[in-house]
Amino acid sequence: MSTTSPWSLVALRELQVRLTDRNFLLGTGATIVVIIGIFAVQGFLMGGGAPSFTVAVTGEDGATVVAEAREALQETDEEAVLEAVQVADAAAAETALTDESADAALLPVADGWEFVTDGEADSQLQGVVSEAVRSTTLQANAEAVGTSVEDLTAGTVVQNRDISGGDDESRFVVWVAGFAMAMLFYMSAIMFGMAIASSVVEEKQSRIVEILAAAIPVRALLTGKVLGNTVLAFGQMAVMGAVALVGLTFTEYDQYLSTLTQGFLWYIPFFILGFLALACVWAAAGAMASRTEDLQATTMPLTMGLVLVFIVGLSLEGTARVIGSFVPVLSTILMPMRLLDGTAAWWEAALALVLTAVFCLVTIGAGTRLYRRSLLQTSGRVSLKAAWAGGE
């Protein structure tokens, strides 16, 4: 005789049934492929790798300027390449441009320098080269009159300060990440919630439930089902999140990796508690149906509620958004978003988690009661009132 607890047997069966279900595997696989696809397209369109330029010069002065420009360029992107090639004269430089062995040429002329290109100049290249010309010339001129560049430029620095907190790009990235997490929660909650409900009604409809209820406590049956599906939902979410974070490193947004990873790690407990808060209610909705056909009616309040949470979560602003980020389940969408855009402190997240946990206890209690009382009513749909009041 083994002492494996009944709920773990039930949970294992849930896992086994889902993980051998072709539709489930195909659906998860397809979603992951789509995520990979999005990042692949992003990486291809936006990045195309680091910039690489070759500039033709005719003397040592030109090479010095290009070396200075390379330093400036590598400050913004350390993988960027900027090379100088020595050519004999201006004619040779133009030849190098036309046969595309150089992207631009930097040639000394009477009153300074000439930046020659074949077609429109790359603005980034032109920017760093012009800046390098300016600073090297400025330095030489300053030394000639016996002063230094630092003295000449003292007090000319303008610093940017954006009171919106972050630039457009980072706001965009944070919004996309928040939206993706909200979407993921919404989809998982509906998909695995429905899985719990239909697994319950399958047992009722096939009538095996009475054998199960006679063999093990009804509570163990419910616990196993809820935990099995929570593990599945969490596993799927974790895989998708990990794929997305790895995908991020292949795009030019990889500088946001640490911010997003941190946000994602906060998202995990919100996801789990938010899911658990509804799981027992899903089970109760399943128990109140007696055939698969009834499920749509008994689960309607849950699906509508989740749609509402999703829409409201994405549309709230200002104070309402702050308040909403503490409301259980809604907080699973809003709090990770606020954490990502930096408007919430860690203690706010912790408080929201505690509130969700308390809410969880309430829904688990209520869900269990409804589940126990309607599980063995195999004829027709059980109304909420009857299920709540009914005997066991």
Binding site: M1, S2, T4, S206, R207, I211, A215
Partner: protein, 294 residues
């Protein structure tokens, strides 16, 4: 020994089971008989703990039954079924594990029982692909799988062909031989008569009769059938004898006592030839009809 003590179940306005008390002794097979809606299923559900009684309790070996005891009871509910889309061996193994068996034991026992019932070739078959009779066999296996301490079977024979009924009866007898108490309900009274050591008759939620078939018969009125070589009309005039039916030379009668019957026989012999004089033993269905009508 499994005991029901004053089990009562009240639904909103209906008392489905009313103060039901009986015992299923170790190693005995008890038939649970009664019409539709008599409360058999409700009683069995309360015995299994699937349904909470409004009043009364269930005992096992003289003490209140526990959850652990019930985990080891074999149960075949009235509304039966298995997971339609799971292989039959897999799900019997799962059910065995829920009854506390190890993976190895559960699988081994499920396999040998499936082989015994002629399903050895279809271990991996999904339940929904099996014929109804084979599904019923799988269902029976599910009930006896976990080396049960007691068996509570609601209509185990319905839907089985005669050969399967015999197989099933043998299986149940093996369990009673090992001291397992078996309670089963059935509408097939002849079958109950043939298999059972005792009977509990339920009518409108109450126990109206219980005991061995002999005991039940013993309480039935004394009846004889007398068949003569000549007309039996004279029997009407014999004091202490009530004639139930007279058809020429054959008469069915209810004597007041055994002595009256013997005196009647002596007179019949003196009046001429007696072809038959025999006690009428009521069938279980007749007894059942009588107690149910009372």
């Amino acid at each position: 020994m499994l005991g029901a003590h004053g089990l009562t179940r009240q639904y909103a306005e209906v008392r489905a089971v009313d103060d039901v008390t009986f015992e299923v002794p170790a190693g005995k097979m008890i038939g649970f008989v009664g019409g539709n809606g008599a409360g058999k299923t409700t009683t069995m559900r309360m015995l299994m703990g699937v349904l909470a009684p409004t009043a009364g309790d269930v005992s096992w070996d003289g003490r209140p039954v526990t959850r652990a005891d019930r985990t080891r009871f074999g149960y075949m509910p009235e509304e039966r079924g298995l997971y339609p889309k799971q292989g039959v061996l897999d799900q019997l193994t799962y059910l065995g594990r829920l009854h506390g068996m190890s993976q190895h034991d559960a699988q081994g026992r499920a396999r040998s029982l499936l082989e015994r019932f002629g399903l050895g070739e279809r271990l991996k078959e999904k339940v929904e692909k099996l014929s109804l009779g084979n599904q019923q066999r799988a269902q029976i296996i599910a009930a006896v799988l976990g080396d049960p301490l007691a068996l509570i079977l609601d209509e185990p024979f319905s839907g089985l062909d005669p050969a399967a009924v015999d197989q099933m009866a043998d299986l149940l007898r093996e369990h009673t031989a090992n001291g397992v108490p078996v309670l089963f309900s059935s509408h097939q009274l002849d079958l109950v008569d043939r298999l059972c050591d005792g009977i509990v008759v339920l009518h409108k939620g109450r126990v109206v009769a219980s005991g061995t078939s002999e005991e039940l018969r013993g309480s039935a009125p004394l009846r004889y059938v007398l068949s003569l070589t000549a007309d039996a009309g004279w029997v009407r005039g014999v004091p202490g004898v009530r004639v139930l039916d007279l058809d020429g030379a054959t008469v069915q009668l209810e004597p007041e006592t055994e002595e009256v019957a013997q005196r009647l026989l002596t007179e019949a012999v003196s009046r001429g030839g007696v072809r038959e004089f025999s006690r009428v033993r009521p069938s279980l269905s007749e007894i059942y009809r009588e107690v149910a009508a009372a």
